[in-house]
């Protein structure tokens, strides 16, 4: 027995070691990756980010160098802190705090002491830099917005967050990524590809030598430039007109689906989100929960469409063959259904066919055609589903599936939708508000603009998109494929005729533009909010849709102005001016322009927050302001650059 004690001990220890080694090296060890090895420093070489041009080749977004002051605490020698602080525009306290932070991070490693100096500060600092040992300047690339327009379109770039880093291994801590707008939707194209350099480091994190003499290193690939469909001049003009108002505008070229202008008001200067001021400004914009400048109203604003929706009711009625173009329906200042009544502006006894019904925006006409659509086969449940399918063929009720990184599906109800409210019986009268674009239907400005484009094209549309071309690449073919609606081409002519009459002698006759045949439709939409939990009505939204010219249309537009009251009061004027601006390049209706620049809705927006009782619509007094000189100057400066 005695001779085996050591023998057994040796064998046991041998087995134990083998088991432990197996655990460490085989069981618990991940397959080796150079990228995961923390003995190897990965130095990324950042490529140039692609530029963004407008449809006419005007440069909108470029890059600018920025300068970070770096510090290596170990190498810092006593210095003239007073002068240094002045150069960096910081105070002594900040200086000490930053140095302390850098020391806590590491004595040997560079730390960002002051980030993103301006070119001017850099120029002054550069000459004196050699005096400050341990400090040096590192160059980075930031975005440079050539004009102040299109913050919502262009978007911005910012540092990646952990969620993205965990999802996509391409991104590392501190990398920049497109956060909104085209910066986000074309991130992959604009960013290019990082180059990488592997460096062997030691346990103090110091570089020793290139790993394997740089065999695995790669060079950066520059990002591609893109041209977007936006017409910068039109965009700038729209933003000017929307000063002191809230709402959204979308203009589309019907023949291509290209978005000519995408305006969300209020907006902000995209340069505010660049450099040192980014985080401060972003916080300010983000926490403005009343005006919501970061909320893209033209894409995300879900509104009841109002009267422009009557165009769709008319089209569906024609397609479903429940009316014909010659049939006239009498309006008795409204529409009576059961014991309820829907009011209308028509004089009692007016007899409207479809063209004059659109021109006069007759509620009674569309209420009765809506009922006919639903009751066609005596079953309103099937009827509403058929109605719903027609609407969906216009791109309503769903995301447009395009290259804009935000959006809303809006709402197109069907029988299933109403099942909760009307589980058993279902009659067409239950949902009659839908006929005039109130009730349960809801759309975003871009969806409505797309409907107008489809009408302008007499039956088809192209998915609205923002990309025009990518240098050295093609754009997806889905943006070049027409999507046909369920309405036959021939049914569009009377509706277009009605829209033309709106300008000729109808609700928008005051908005005519010499030399352009515009087809349009006004909308005035009731809306409500909750004030202290109380359902309160606010001044109506002003809505307008239009396209022009009538034949061979070049532009289709939808304008939403929140609480602007009736359609032609704000939205109609803006739509007419935008059309004229785009087609002619100059403005003949300077009276409309002047009116818009001197009328503000800011008082209106302040009302619900004032805590005082307030009047709406007719009882509300319109606020008159002097022309905003500053806004005008910004507009002119932008125009000079374009």
């Amino acid at each position: 027995m005695r001779q085996f004690l050591l023998f057994i001990s040796v064998v046991i220890v041998g087995l134990l070691f083998t088991a432990r080694l197996f655990y460490l090296q085989v069981y618990a060890s991940d397959s080796y990756s150079l990228y995961e090895d923390n003995a190897i420093r990965k130095v990324y070489k950042y490529p140039k980010r692609g530029f963004v041009y407008d449809r006419n080749g005007e440069l909108l977004v470029a890059n600018q160098p920025s300068y970070d002051v770096m510090v290596i605490p170990r190498e810092v020698k006593p210095l003239d802190t007073l002068e240094f602080c002045q150069l960096l525009k910081i105070d002594k306290e900040q200086f000490n705090k930053q140095l302390e932070k850098a020391k806590n991070y590491s004595y040997r490693l560079p730390y960002v002491f002051v980030s993103q100096l301006s070119k001017e500060d850099y120029a002054i600092l550069q000459e004196k830099m050699r005096k400050y040992e341990g400090f040096y300047i590192q160059k980075r690339s930031l975005r440079q917005y050539e004009t102040t327009i299109g913050a919502n379109v262009l978007g911005d770039i910012g540092e990646v967050n952990n969620a993205i880093i965990n999802k996509d291994p391409y991104y590392k801590m501190g990398d920049l990524i497109g956060k909104q707008g085209v910066e986000a939707s074309y991130e992959d194209i604009l960013r290019g590809k990082k180059g990488i350099q592997f460096i062997q480091k030691d346990r103090f994190n110091r570089n020793i030598a290139p790993y394997k003499n740089g065999t695995y290193d790669t060079l950066p690939e520059p990002g591609k430039d893109i041209t977007i469909t936006i017409d910068a001049k039109l965009q700038a003009y729209g933003e000017l007109l929307m000063q002191h108002k809230r709402g959204g505008i979308i203009a589309i070229e019907p023949q291509t689906g290209e978005i000519l202008a995408m305006i969300s008001a209020p907006t902000y200067d995209p340069n505010a989100l660049v450099g040192r001021k980014r985080s401060k400004n972003f916080t300010k914009l983000f926490y403005d929960t009343i005006a919501k400048p970061l909320f893209n109203r033209s894409l995300q604003g879900v509104y009841e469409p109002g009267s422009p929706f009557k165009l769709l009711t008319g089209l569906i009625a024609l397609q479903e063959d429940v009316i014909d173009t010659s049939e006239k329906i009498t309006c008795y200042t409204g529409y009576k259904y059961g014991n309820r009544f829907m009011k209308c502006h028509c004089a009692s006894g007016t007899r409207n066919d479809i063209i004059s019904a659109i021109e006069k925006s007759c509620n009674a006409y569309f209420a009765s055609t809506y009922r006919r659509i639903l009751d066609k086969n005596g079953n309103a449940s099937l009827g509403i589903n058929r109605w719903s399918d027609h609407l969906k063929s216009f791109g309503l009720g769903n995301f447009l599936n395009n290259d804009l990184n935000v959006g809303q599906p809006g709402r197109v109800p069907d029988r299933e939708y109403y099942r909760r409210i009307y589980p058993n019986t279902f009659y067409s009268t239950y949902t009659i508000s839908n006929s005039i674009g109130q009730g349960e239907v809801a759309t975003t400005p871009i969806q409505l603009a797309n409907v107008v484009a489809a009408i302008a094209n007499r039956g088809h549309y192209f998915t609205p998109h923002i990309i025009k071309s990518i240098s050295g690449d093609t754009i997806p073919s889905k943006y070049k494929t027409p999507i046909h609606t369920t309405i036959d081409k021939k049914h569009f002519d009377p509706v277009v005729e009605g829209m033309f009459e709106v300008y000729n002698k109808g609700t928008a006759s005051s908005l005519k533009v010499e030399g352009i045949d515009i087809c349009g439709k006004t909308g005035t939409v009731e809306n409500f909010t909750k004030i202290d939990g109380k359902h309160t009505q606010l001044t109506d939204h002003s809505i307008f849709v239009a396209f022009a010219p009538k034949d061979n249309p070049k532009i289709a537009i939808a304008v939403f102005v929140e609480n602007g009251y009736w359609g032609s009061r704000f939205a109609g004027k803006i739509a007419s001016l935008m059309i004229e601006k785009y087609i002619k390049g100059t403005i003949s209706r300077t009276d409309l322009e002047h009116w818009l620049l001197t009328h503000s809705l800011e008082d209106e927006y302040a009302k619900p927050y004032s805590g005082e009782p307030f009047g709406i619509n007719r009882q509300a007094k319109l606020q008159v302001i002097p022309v905003d000189k500053e806004a005008l100057k910004i507009y002119e400066d932008n125009n000079k650059k374009l």
Partner: protein, 425 residues
């Protein structure tokens, strides 16, 4: 009658081959752990890999000398060799040089020399000599005491040099003594001491006391021939007292850094912020060494390709932590190979020892096997976090002239003794 040519083959070539395998593979890893990236210069006498190459060459000279000396010399002069070793250990206190807090070196100008590495072989000879004396019987306490003193003197001298790791090596002689007749009660006591110490530190005195009382009483009542109640009570009291002693020693006597090592090993620290701090300080080595071994995976990153080795992430990598280089660059295949060679070497020595005709040779062989075993167990166990950090080299593998020569002499004296067994009829 032996023919003349057979003389060369009397040496146990298996042991010699295993020896050179370890030395050679060890040197490759020292090269990897210590080269600075520039072109290799094997004879610059500056870099550890270059120095070790010289040490290895000189060790061949030592081997030839050791094997040339008559086998009887080692037995006859063992006492004198032992005395010389003790004197050299004492001399360090007067002429010595302090490295890493341990005063264990003589400065010889071109190199430093660590007498404690040679004292192991000297003590092994002395112990073997004493045990093999016909008058010695380890059943008797008087003889036990004498042999303990022989072992304790160098051990205490080394402890006074502040080299705790090398002191612990002297525990290896327990295996020799047990093989040669030390009563089993010592083995049981040693095991109990270890169990009580771990229980006390990990679970506290109360649980240890309860465990001791329950197990001793269970033993008491299950025995057919009842031990006396007084004896049982004394054992329990001794256990409890010992438990208190351990706690006291841990809290007040042992130095802070050793306390931390035990704390890490038994995972006594639970506070996450303290643990994080430890990972940067006392646990840094262990953390880095486990990472390096683990990063090698099954087949390793390849010779001279270890990124953590090249980056010198593991401190003391070419000396005590040389095994991490094997782990990183040669993977599981390499580490398993090293473990296997050590196990084979130790078992081979044990096997040869049992074949010895003289008790002196057998006891000496056992001492050699035990010393190799203790070094192997503590070093590799420490590097992998299985036992607390104790700084002793991996025999024949780690960088260092004194260590290499000490083990070379230790082993080759035995090879010489073994080759001579035919003459001991």
């Amino acid at each position: 009658m032996l023919r003349k040519t057979d003389r060369h083959f009397k040496f146990d070539w298996i042991t010699i081959i295993l020896f050179f395998l370890l030395v050679g593979f060890g040197w490759l890893n020292i090269l990897s752990a210590s080269h600075t990236g520039e072109t290799l210069d094997y004879f610059n006498f500056q870099d550890p890999y270059s120095k070790q190459l010289i040490f290895i060459m000189l060790s061949v000279v030592l081997i030839i000398i050791t094997l040339s000396i008559d086998a009887k010399f080692y037995e006859r002069f063992s006492s004198i060799i032992y005395m010389v070793a003790l004197l050299s250990l004492v001399g360090v206190f007067i002429f010595g040089k302090t490295i890493n807090g341990a005063t264990s070196w003589y400065n010889l100008g071109v190199m430093t020399f660590q007498p404690s590495e040679f004292a192991k072989a000297a003590t092994a000879l002395a112990v073997a000599k004493y045990i093999s004396d016909l008058n010695t019987d380890l059943k008797y306490f008087k003889d036990q005491l004498k042999v303990f003193i022989i072992i304790a003197i160098p051990a205490i001298l080394i402890l006074l040099q502040n080299d705790t790791g090398s002191t612990l090596v002297y525990a290896a002689f327990f295996f020799v003594l047990y093989r040669e007749g030390l009563p089993t009660i010592y083995l049981i006591s040693a095991l109990l001491v270890i169990i009580i110490a771990i229980l006390t530190l990990k679970f506290g005195i109360i649980i240890t006391t309860i465990t001791a009382v329950v197990s001793v009483l269970a033993y008491h009542f299950t025995r057919r021939k009842k031990p006396s109640i007084i004896q049982t009570t004394l054992i329990i009291l001794a256990a409890i007292l010992f438990s208190f002693a351990i706690r006291y020693a841990y809290n007040t006597i042992i130095p802070a850094h050793q306390k931390d090592r035990i704390s890490i090993w038994l995972r006594l620290e639970k506070d996450p912020s303290e643990l994080r701090k430890m990972r940067q300080t006392v646990a840094y080595n262990l953390n880095e060494s486990e990472k390096a071994i683990s990063s090698g995976g099954f087949s390793g990153k390849g010779f001279l390709e270890g990124t953590r080795t090249t980056g010198k992430f593991v401190p003391e990598q070419h000396t005590d932590y040389i095994f991490t280089t094997v782990g990183e660059e040669w993977g599981f295949i390499g580490t398993f190979g090293v473990v296997l060679i050590f196990v084979l070497l130790i078992i081979r020595i044990l096997h040869l020892s049992e074949l010895q005709k003289s008790q002196f040779s057998r006891a000496y062989g056992y001492a050699v096997a035990s010393i190799f075993f203790i070094h192997f167990m503590i070093n590799i166990g420490m590097v992998m976090g299985l036992i607390p950090t104790i700084g002793i080299p991996l025999p024949l593998f780690s960088y260092g002239g004194s260590g290499l020569w000490g083990f070379t002499i230790l082993l080759f004296i035995f090879i010489k003794l073994d080759s001579n067994k035919i003459n001991e009829w």
